[in-house]
Symmetry: none
Subunit: 215 residues, 2 copies
Amino acid sequence: MGRRKIEMKRIEDKSSRQVTFSKRRSGLIKKARELSILCDVDVAVLVFSNRGRLYEFVNSSSSSSLSQILKRYQDSTAADGKASIAAVETEQSSPSSCAEVQTCGELVKSVERYLEGPELENLRLEDFMRLERQLADALVQTRTRKTQLMLESIGTLSEQEKLLKQENEQLKDEVANLIGIPKSRNHKDLGVNNLMEVDADRQYSQPLRTLPLLR
Amino acid sequence: MGRRKIEMKRIEDKSSRQVTFSKRRSGLIKKARELSILCDVDVAVLVFSNRGRLYEFVNSSSSSSLSQILKRYQDSTAADGKASIAAVETEQSSPSSCAEVQTCGELVKSVERYLEGPELENLRLEDFMRLERQLADALVQTRTRKTQLMLESIGTLSEQEKLLKQENEQLKDEVANLIGIPKSRNHKDLGVNNLMEVDADRQYSQPLRTLPLLR
DNA sequence: TCCCCTATATATAACCA
DNA sequence: TTGGTTATATATAGGGG
């Protein structure tokens, strides 16, 4: 749909490939938006330039897990370079001051110094490399902290589960003793919620077993 | 681009909305394919009909995380009980048992190909950039998967905890009824492990509240 | 890079089978 | 529902700032 028909193969000329990329990319995203509006459906478009940049469209109304998945992906990639600053700033307001927050606060300041300073033009590659490294380190710290919190949460919940099960068993024993029936058999008419009889002993730490592999 | 211009809003007539959906969907996917070919980039398009069917395009040459993300999405929806009978318009799907391992294997192989190949000297910066991107994507993928597994684990444990507490309460009621004492007061000499009386109601989802910030 | 222009190629809305 | 047909609306290739 241009001055002439083009072959459907990789455009060899780098310059015109770039132009075509830009034009068709926006065209694609426009069409995606139209489709989602006209037909009231969830649409996502992801385009990766071969320099690794991500261009995306996800219709916001999709409260489905689609947008979450994609947002999650976007977050992880964005954190690779630019968008992490905003996230870092919100974290700064958190009162749970730990080493990370300190570090992130400092980092934000230094980023601001970099970006707002009048000497922005004068920065050398060296400076940006340092900045990149700092951001990457911040990311690592953030993720490490996240992992730690999640592991704590899992640990607490596991502990909680164990204790509850224990108490549960004792209560069952008691009920059994009080009504003179061996604990091994609970009667439904006792009103005991034995919904969990089957699942209660399943090993829910299974997912964790794979974590070492994933580090 | 039809007999007349249409407003950009949801098509109310169900029948023509369906027709438009079908036509524009295939148009969108065609454009996505063209973009990926002409410009040699990774493109993914996901379209969910509001009946839950998934139509997708993912250019196969993308050994990057794109297809993995989509596969993971399919897996998660499948686990969700949703109908993810992917009406895949285009690509062959590989056994989506453990996408990461597959991917990592592939990645290792491609790295080996890069490094052991006799043309190592001939590689351009471009090639190393691609390799770097692949490695970064793999890392992202791995971390995302890890996060997912941990969240699932936490969710399961929370659920488990809730159910156990519930059962526990019922058992306590029962004990109270059997011994003729209001449930509000448990006697220690009953042998009930009420170690948890204080902690049992604490909100253990608290650590999760900080996760969004850390994302 | 990015925007504008314009001739053409494509996509598609309405219709029909 | 699907699949053509056709008149129009859009997208975009090539070219110039």
